[in-house]
């Protein structure tokens, strides 16, 4: 039996101590009220046991008691709500300039693509002191990316990008689990998150030379001849793609949508879903031709077009 045992998990992200503080506060409340109720039950039950000589005269019937034990808990839980909400809003507010790492989940595997071009499976290497944003999508069922030492978890959905961010604080190896039941070997869909000093991380990133996601995307763009329709403005049957990322795209049939990663993905895999105003729904779906990882590379390339303009 392992003797490597503790009652409290390690805290290795900027958000972790803040979550622990809320947790300890609620724990204190819980212990207090549990002991209060247990103590009252035991002392009343023993003092007023059947046959004891304790006086039973003038039992209380007070509306003020009811109000007291309704209002005090109400104030406490509203306090809990605001504290928890404050931490949560910071968890969900993406900091500017975060390093973006892309993760594709599929049954029993987490595939990771770093912006440096390095890729890994079931491990994740990140530096300390640098906000990291994970953009995640699943190839099959719902998974959930869970790093207990960071106190963070985010479901990874098929068909929809989800994301979360963290800033690691302490170098070391931490558990990575899939928290959403995803199939027969769900329990083995786990790995390690390695937090490194920035220098060490830079060395690690440079160790293997890989193709940058942008370059892989450009290659896909050319292989599938996307440019034959998507030429410059008004020149082809498809809308121009330079500068499209982040722009407000008017849609056929009214309305408009911000061309974010989700929109670009859907337009490649399910083009008729949202057709750009002024164009015909001519584009075929690339659903059977592209993996989620390849779609992410294409999106990286499309984003680079926006920056270049």
């Amino acid at each position: 039996m392992s003797t490597d045992f503790s009652f409290f998990p390690e805290a290795a992200s900027t958000i972790a101590p803040r979550v622990d503080a809320v947790y300890l506060f609620i724990l204190g409340i819980t212990v207090f009220f549990t002991l209060l109720i247990a103590g009252l039950i035991l002392s009343f039950g023993i003092h007023y046991r059947r046959g004891s000589k304790a006086s039973r005269e003038n039992p209380p019937t007070s509306i003020w008691l009811e109000i007291t034990w309704s209002v005090i808990p109400l104030i406490i839980v509203i306090g809990m709500f605001f504290w928890g909400a404050d931490v949560f809003v910071d968890m969900r507010t993406m900091p500017a300039g975060a390093m973006e790492i892309e993760i594709v989940g599929k049954q029993l595997m987490w595939k990771v693509q770093h912006p440096s071009g390095r890729a890994e499976i079931n491990t994740l290497h990140v530096p300390t002191g640098q906000p990291v944003k994970l953009r995640m999508i699943s190839e099959d069922v719902i998974h959930s990316y869970y790093i207990p030492a960071f106190r963070l978890k985010q479901d990874v959905l098929p068909g929809y990008y989800t994301d979360f961010w963290f800033e690691a604080t302490k170098p070391g190896d931490y558990h990575l689990f899939c928290a959403e039941y995803c199939g027969t070997e769900h329990s083995l869909m786990r790995g390690t998150v390695t937090v490194m000093d920035p220098d060490e991380f830079a060395r690690w990133s440079a160790q293997e030379s890989r193709t940058l996601p942008v370059e892989a995307g450009k290659e896909l763009f050319e292989r599938f001849r996307c440019g034959s329709c998507h030429k410059g403005a008004g020149a082809g049957p498809g809308p121009a793609l330079a500068g499209v990322y982040g722009s407000l795209v008017p849609l056929k049939g009214g309305g408009a949508v911000v061309a974010n990663e989700q929109y670009l993905r859907d337009s490649i895999l399910d083009p008729p879903k949202q057709v750009v105003a002024g164009f015909e729904p001519l584009m075929p779906s690339f659903k059977t031709l592209l993996s989620e990882a390849e779609v992410l590379q294409l999106i990286a390339y499309l984003k680079s077009l926006s920056v270049a303009e």
Partner: protein
């Protein structure tokens, strides 16, 4: 019924029969001969299988849910054994997944949801309101058959290969990827829902239309209030579950895109629909047990329940708020941050009516005359464990903490404190409290206390370590885990073995008591409810004479039982002369 109406009805009764305050519109029934009761009115099997007597249907439910309870428990024994070691070595991953799925489906849909309403509710609601039967006796029998048909589908699903989706059937795993017997299990869950709906319809109609003369709403036992609130939740929620499992079945069988994005569906839509039912279902499971606890505490503290109206309205508040908090199961699914914040806030509010109940029960003990017998041990155990279950719910409603503990053993521990520490303790307390009424026999009190204490400590040893495991980060539904989680898992499995023995004991001595138990008499606990004013076991038509209610419920003052050992809620001995029509006085 409004207050003036009840007073009018009551004073009308008094005009007719001022001395005894009873009327006897139907005094002689075939089954009401001396020595005859609902159990020995007929002996053949058909008289049970075609009975429309709510008490016999209750007994049929009791037998069937007991079978399902031990079936679900057997699955738990196997996976707790597997979890003794970090490696998945006792059973294969596939079998493990089928075991926890079977445990969940059986315990939730075939034990916890029907346990209190279909066994105790069926048996007691007509007795407590002074009626001859439920409003729709044939529907009541039909509900049992529907339950059995649903059960057969589920058993077939298990026998022909099992299901591995978890009781939550999350899509697209259940609708597209899982290659086990999802359809049969989904049909089972779909079918069994209708048995709950029929029970709920019956309870609502009975409480509205069949209360004894003088039994106004605020004279009802809190058991009835709790069942009424539960029935509303069942009626409003269960159809949504039925629709949801149909949609899963349609997507699975005909590849219609509803939940699977590969077919153009939305995977999160399923979770919204599922939890819209399944969160209120938590209250379906625990509210009736709260009703049981109110009865037991009041009887064995020999005091009127403290804050009767607060407890009654707390049940309704829980029923209403329960429908508005489903999103707290989905904080990390990628639902909008603002939706998460709203659901977090509403979830906090559910804590208040629960807290009100706990404080009122505790206050009922103050200046009472507390008898520490078996039923009371279960009821007090309920308060303690439900308090912990409810308070640990606050961790989950607090959105930042939920992100960490969601889908870990913290969740497993929390809902077992509510479901097992709450509902099962309440159910067992109720079975012990009303066993003399149901069977006419007393069980051995000493064995009863031993079992109750074993269950309390076994339960805590099983599930408390799981809170710690959850905060350490151990995900639920894993068959193989990292070695540092082992010590706590071994503690949990050890507790489960104590818990198992605790559950087998009542099975033994309760069956023993059927033959060897001392005859109970009509009212062995000197309780005030109407159900104690008739024989044990009751005659087929419940009461020899139509009872008429003149007072509030739970008038246990004076606190020591008087010499005649009898403190009825009904006349003749009008022990509290001024209470006629005095609503709301405590």
């Amino acid at each position: 019924m409004s207050t003036p109406e009840s007073v009018m009805k009551l004073s009308g009764t008094e005009t007719h029969e001022p001395a005894v305050g009873r009327v006897a519109p139907h005094s002689a029934h075939a089954g009401d001969q001396p020595g005859r009761n609902y159990l020995n009115a007929d002996y053949n099997l058909w008289s049970w299988l075609f009975t429309t007597d709510h008490k016999r249907v209750g007994i049929l439910y009791l037998i069937s849910i007991t079978l399902f309870f031990f079936l679900g428990g057997a699955a738990a024994v196997l996976f707790r054994l597997e979890l003794m070691t970090p490696r998945g070595d006792l059973v294969k991953a596939e079998s493990y997944n089928k075991l926890f799925t079977m445990h969940g489906i059986i315990m939730v849909f075939f034990f916890l949801i029907p346990a209190v309403p279909a066994v105790l509710g069926n048996f007691l609601v007509p007795l407590m309101v002074g009626a001859r039967d439920l409003a729709f006796p044939k529907l009541n029998l039909a509900s049992w058959y529907i339950y059995i048909i649903g059960g057969v589908f589920t058993i077939v699903a298990v026998l022909t290969g099992g299901v591995d989706t978890g009781w939550t059937f999350y899509t697209p795993y259940s609708s597209t990827y899982g290659n086990t017997n999802v359809l049969a299990a989904a049909v089972g869950v779909f079918v069994v829902g209708f048995s709950s709906i029929l029970t709920a319809v019956n309870i609502i109609a009975t409480v509205h239309t069949m209360r004894a003369p003088g039994l106004s709403w605020f004279r009802l036992p809190l058991f009835i209030w709790a069942h009424y609130a539960t029935s509303l939740v069942i009626l409003l929620g269960t159809p949504v579950l039925a629709i949801t499992v149909i949609l899963v079945g349609v997507e699975r069988a005909f590849r219609v895109g509803i939940f699977d994005p590969a077919l153009g569906g939305d995977p999160i839509l399923f979770q919204h629909l599922f939890w819209f039912y399944s969160h209120p279902a938590v209250y379906i499971m625990v509210l009736p047990a709260m009703g049981v606890v109110s009865e037991i505490i009041s009887c064995f503290a020999r005091r009127r329940v403290f804050g009767y109206k607060f407890i009654a309205f707390a049940s309704l508040a829980i029923a209403v708020l329960g429908f508005l908090v489903w999103g707290h199961h989905m904080f990390v699914t990628g639902q909008s941050m603002y939706a998460g914040l709203v659901f977090s806030f509403l979830s906090m509010l559910v804590a208040i009516p629960s807290a009100i109940k706990v404080f009122n029960w505790t206050a009922t003990l103050f200046k009472g005359s507390v008898l520490w017998n078996t039923a009371m041990l279960y009821a007090l155990g309920f308060i303690g464990l439900f308090t912990m279950g409810g308070l640990t719910g606050l961790f989950l409603a607090t959105i930042a903490v939920d992100v960490h503990v969601h889908d870990t053993y913290f969740i497993v521990a929390h809902f077992h404190y509510i479901m097992v520490g709450g509902s099962v303790m309440g159910y067992l307390g109720g079975i012990h409290y009303w066993w003399p009424k149901m069977t006419g026999r007393m069980y051995p009190e000493g064995w009863g206390r031993v079992a109750a204490i074993l269950i309390f400590f076994g339960f805590n040893l099983t599930f408390f370590p799981q809170f710690v495991l959850g905060y350490l980060g151990m995900p639920r539904r894993v068959h193989d885990y990292v070695p540092e989680f082992q010590i706590l898992n071994v503690m949990s499995s050890a507790g489960a073995s104590i818990l198992g023995i605790g559950y087998l004991l009542p099975l033994g001595y309760l069956i023993w008591s059927l033959r060897y138990g001392k005859p109970a008499g009509a009212n062995p606990w000197d309780a005030t409810g109407l159900e104690w004013q008739t024989d044990s076991p009751p005659p087929t038509h419940n009461f020899h004479e139509q009872p008429v209610v003149l007072t509030d419920a739970y008038l246990y003052e004076p606190w020591e039982p008087p010499a005649q050992g009898h403190l009825p809620q009904t006349p003749p001995q009008a022990h509290e002369p001024a209470v006629v029509g005095s609503e709301g006085q405590r």
